[in-house]
Symmetry: C2
Subunit: 453 residues, 2 copies
């Protein structure tokens, strides 16, 4: 049976199964959702067994469980390890969602739900491709699945899990769908990821909230101070001002940059899609370079004082921010965390106290595009999307990919089907129904091409 | 009967009545508390009638109601208008309160509740002093009461109410207890108040929350931009950097500053009480000058991006801040609001959009300390607190006091009994039981001295 026919005949059932998965609010950042993580892991176990896995375990860790499943065919065949994550981002601000984030809905041909793309939708593509290969008896490799529940909070437990299960996780390469394509018209394969270093800071002024009339002007306001400290994290060229931050960054040659500049990119379309009058970024680099090959620093959250309706004349005791840096190959997140802390603390005047916490981090990653698995992926995408995919450096981070290389010694193929318009991490996250099914088709083709290249 | 005896005999009843008032969550900043405002106004009407008022009205306004009551004795006697406010500040952060803000409790001789001092406790002093004067037939002036419910949100409706009721509100002077003393050991009378100009700002970057990996470094982050804009509101001398901000500020003469410097003030005690290693403020001015005679600017609240537990790698669409300025005599809040807006908007790069809203404002105020009513207040405080009170310039704002002068043509005596340790506007607001009853005694004495000075 053809994969297209199979999908047409089973479309409703497959969508129902995906929706069941999307209904589970598996938010890893919020500890009160712990039981949902287990419910989600058990759901995946059921799906894998139904699809044709020999055995599936829900493996407990210090954090959320890892789902491990496998199907063994022959020791003479290559082995693929499919990785994905079933945890999702928080959903705030809730009032910007047009439908509840955990009640999936199809509108305008798109599935709207938290996790529709990142990563439940994309990992489910692999389960359904596997189901087809098993049902049609066409699976021509050994396959393993590892789905974790902590990717959005730094894959805290997975490094240990990998280190303790090296043999079990042994594979020829790892296959991951947790990235995006440049656009519908410009299919691409991610050939690199940025690293991450996520910090949380707290600035304390007076020991209690004060009346801003009685004390204003005479006591340091931690919000004003924090704002000033944040303003000193970039210099006037929008470079990161932390001393030694760029020390380990490898500058690309002009030739490499010329090669990158060939990727199709329309700056006016980009600005229009974001409704911004002007782009922003490090001087002397293009937009694609700024997200692909250059590190950056963003405040991801800030809060302090009175943030409710109306007004309150308070001089608050504390102000807080969550600040993350995206890193490029050769930068070490632990070193960067130290540099950040040292510099940030040095910016504080005597009138406040500062606390800096390193939340989590991960290294950047590069795919060698000469690998046969990369070639098979490229052929499969070309077949289903109609164009040879561009190998491109994504600005995102999947810190665990670098960890796989370090701990398991295995390279990863990043074969993602997302689009920027999928609004991952944002309100109204969505995944086009067409992309979802095209993804399943592409993965089935990938398995076929794998024995040919 | 002596006032001391009266208070001793009625102590429990009086506290019960105050507690009943404190239990009403009359938060004017949050519109859903509207019905509580009416409940509070009706409660005050009952209290005033029980104390001996001839008649009391709850007067509707476009905002919260004004309670007006009076007792007329003779047209040959002077008339006092007592002003107070029954609305209170919001209570966040709730988790820092040791007991619920609207369940008053006495601990360590202090009444803990939102409004215990500001201003329900202080206005109740006047009702109970009035009760004594009526019961003992010793009231020797005509008295009027005006209690509003919008002081904490800029007394929005009261200017109109005053303009429409000039005759009804006519008095020889206005008496207000809504301020603090320098300390228990240094009794004081407030001889000046700062004005206020409260702004709300919104910075918009991209049209939706973005993934900080895919876009970070290439799109302006509104939090980083807002932080930079806020950092430019002060210069390196901690002066406010808004052009023309100081144009209308009248600099005090060196003699006046020398006179001010005689007020007792212990900088080490001040720092210790706030747990700060260093004070902060405008260069070349003392702490008392910084809060008394100099304007200032504080961010009262800031928020944007992900502020929940854990981490989220978002490049947010918007960032917000509430920013207020305290003004000194001769500065016009409407002019300052315009200067702020013009400057703030000028700080924004092309990559973001900025909205600035002027919430409310009020003029600064000075009491002429030669007035006989001021002299009577001074004598009364000297009698009960044991020391002649220092006339001092408070840093706080009661914008309506300047409005009274403008609209009613009447001066105000600021006879407040608060202390900095009362934590008004903060968690664990409190008012010492002793101060509350001493306040009643002092107001009764004030009435006696008024005919003597």
């Amino acid at each position: 049976m053809e994969i297209k026919t199979y999908l047409a005949e089973n479309q409703n059932r497959i969508l129902d199964e995906l929706f069941e998965l999307l209904r589970i609010p598996s938010i890893s950042a919020i500890s009160s959702y712990k039981s949902e993580m287990f419910r989600c892991a058990e759901g995946l176990k059921t799906s894998l067994l139904a699809a044709g896995a020999d055995k599936v375990e829900v493996c407990e860790t210090e954090g959320n469980p890892v789902v491990f499943g496998e199907k063994f065919i022959s020791k003479n065949l290559p082995t693929i390890l499919v990785y994905g994550h079933y945890d999702v981002m928080p959903v705030e601000p809730l009032d910007l969602w047009n439908s509840p984030p955990f009640e999936p809905q199809i509108r305008d041909g798109k599935i709207f739900a938290r996790g529709a793309d990142d990563d439940k939708g994309q990992l489910f593509i692999h389960i359904k491709a596997f189901e087809f290969l098993c049902k049609t008896n066409t699976l021509n490799c050994n396959i393993k699945f590892m789905f974790e529940g902590e990717e959005e909070v730094g894959s805290t437990s997975l490094e240990k899990f990998c280190a303790e299960n090296r043999e079990k996780l042994h594979s020829d390469f790892i296959l991951v769908s947790d990235t995006s394509m440049l656009s519908k018209e410009v299919p691409s394969l991610t050939a690199g990821l940025r690293g991450l270093c996520y910090m949380e800071v707290e600035v304390t002024g007076p020991n209690r909230d004060l009346h801003s009339g009685h004390f204003g002007g005479a006591v340091a306001n931690p919000i004003n101070i924090l704002a000033k400290m944040i303003s000193q994290l970039h210099n006037s060229d929008n470079k990161i001002a932390i001393p030694h931050f760029y020390d380990d960054v490898i500058e690309l040659s002009q030739e490499e940059r010329n090669e990158m500049a060939k990727a199709p990119f329309d700056i006016e379309k980009y600005k229009n899609s974001l409704s911004v009058n002007e782009i922003w970024g490090e001087k002397n680099y293009s937009t694609l370079e700024r997200v692909g090959i250059r590190p950056c620093l963003d405040v991801n959250g800030i809060w302090g004082g009175y943030i409710g309706e109306g007004t309150k004349t308070v001089l608050p005791s504390k102000a807080f921010a969550k600040i993350s840096m995206r890193l490029v190959p050769n930068q070490n997140p632990d070193v960067i965390a130290q540099l950040f802390e040292k510099y940030f603390v040095s910016l504080a005047p005597q009138s406040v106290k500062v606390q800096v916490k390193y939340s989590h981090g991960g290294n950047a990653y590069s795919t060698p595009i000469q690998m046969s698995a990369y070639q098979a992926a490229s052929l499969a995408v070309e077949k289903t999307f109609g164009k040879k995919p561009v190998p491109y450096k994504s600005g995102g981070s999947i810190p665990i990919i670098a960890t796989f290389e370090k701990v398991l010694g295995t390279k990863t193929i990043l074969m993602g089907f997302g689009l920027d318009t999928d609004a991952i991490h944002s309100p109204n996250e969505n995944f086009p129904v067409e992309t979802f099914f095209k993804g399943i088709e592409t993965i089935v083709l990938f398995h076929q091409y794998l024995k040919e290249v």
